[in-house]
Symmetry: C2
Subunit: 277 residues, 2 copies
């Protein structure tokens, strides 16, 4: 018996690989990790294609119950579905370690990830530096790591991918929910299992606010940015332009991400010009 | 009519996604880009599953004929299959640009890439810096960019992924083919369409040779490395250890890659300890 970590890819039920689908159909139990990413299709479409009930695992089940799922995999074939690629935007290394301790074999089925789908922008993936997350301000927490990562990457000419926070409402300070944009957003989030996803606009505004305090000229309203939404889906949107120009663009539904390019090759420049209309 | 860039994933014919397979079956013509990566399965297995003839496109057809393929896509649905993810290890940005100029719509079907499969090592993908390629010495060319990238990444505590060269014999200076290891390698390369793939051992030896010249203590025989082969396949191998220890390990068939970790989190340390046996 074994544990299977299976990537779902980026958009809908058809992004599963043939190998992944075989393991799902043969499994005794199918969980889905659903708190670090956002499903872009209906869960029922997945269940229909698989012919299987999918048990949604929230943060508690994965983090506190991770060991229990591994124990279960001693006696059963247990699948955990992960949106995107299983070992990418959020690593699930703890599963590997727990499984190793309990002598449970693990099979990982990789799939597309936002970390590679950003290649659609025409930016060279070789030239990205460390990835960072821009997070909503949590109670009693001020995290500006992302500002320092962007600063460091810019210094070496590297591009920076900023993944944007996905929070459960209760995680996030209430003040943050008061903007009009958020009110609009919250409505569509009801259908999205209370996920609240940071938008490109929010990320830019948060970066500009940190810049106002730190004043290190890391991110200003003139900084070239590439904003993306729903990458890997047929409805993906990419805009490239100065931060204050992107604030006027409509990126639509989540998930969004934000790229701050470093030094550009001329082919990259030409590619970005496709996205500045 | 349109151009489809479709990722094959990392191992065999079953790594295609359901969406990718639909487009292949419906296409008028199916090419495969086959000079920047290595197919780990038999081409006939792909053709059988797809029920389609696959036309192998070498460097000349892709680089010089890229525009012709795009022109063809004005009147036909044309698929280009790409090992791994279409926009990752080698970007195919030129196709996007050519297609844009000729008003040909492009659909990209993402898939697993070595850039994310390295997550299997337990190293955090967020913490990788710029990626580099270690290349065989070409005639009249001495490229040591990789040494500088490793140096830069180490300074900021970032991990470095080194992709290892895949060359056609004639690309590479003959002296380089004289070692015993190469002779062994060349034999299996006949079945692999004359691809000559750099091994982890060759990469380490080349890094040590550059270190001998540059003497900047960027890469020594004590440097912690993670060597990987055939990532994303059921036959993948991962070893972690000092460079001189890895020189004694058998990594088997290509493709190989080499990671030089930066600053390790304790979970990463624990994960790497799984691979030092």
């Amino acid at each position: 018996m074994a544990l299977y970590l299976i990537g779902l890819g980026l958009f809908d039920e058809k992004d599963i690989t043939l190998r992944g689908l075989e393991f799902i159909k043969a499994a005794d139990k199918v969980y889905m990790e659903y708190y670090t990413s956002l499903l872009q299709c209906d869960m029922r479409a997945l269940e229909k294609l698989y012919g299987r009930k999918v048990i949604v695992a929230d943060r508690e089940l994965i983090e506190k119950g991770g060991e229990n799922i591994v124990k279960e995999a001693k006696n059963y074939d247990v699948v955990i579905l992960i949106i995107g690629d299983p070992m990418s935007a959020t690593t699930h290394t703890q599963f590997l370690l727990d499984a190793h301790k309990q002598h449970v074999p693990v099979t990982i089925i990789h799939n597309a990830s936002v970390l590679t789908a950003i290649g659609d922008t025409g930016l060279e993936l070789y030239k990205f530096g460390k990835i960072t997350s821009i997070v909503f301000p949590r109670k009693n927490q001020q995290v500006e790591t992302y500002y320092d990562v962007i600063k460091q990457n810019r210094a070496s000419g590297s591009h920076t991918l900023c993944l944007l926070d996905i929070a459960i409402s209760s995680d996030v300070s209430d003040a943050n929910f008061a903007t009009q944009e958020t009110a609009k957003q919250t409505k569509s989030n009801v259908a999205r299992q209370q996920h609240r996803c940071m938008t490109v606009h929010e990320a830019i505004n948060q970066l500009l606010a940190v810049e106002q305090q730190r004043k290190e000229s890391v991110f200003t309203s003139d900084t070239l940015c590439v904003g993306c939404s729903r990458l890997g889906s047929p409805r993906q949107v990419i805009f490239a332009g100065a931060a204050n120009v992107l604030l006027k663009k409509d990126f639509g539904d989540p998930p969004h991400c934000l790229i701050i390019p470093g030094k550009l090759h001329f082919v990259e420049e030409e590619a970005l010009s496709l996205w500045n209309k």
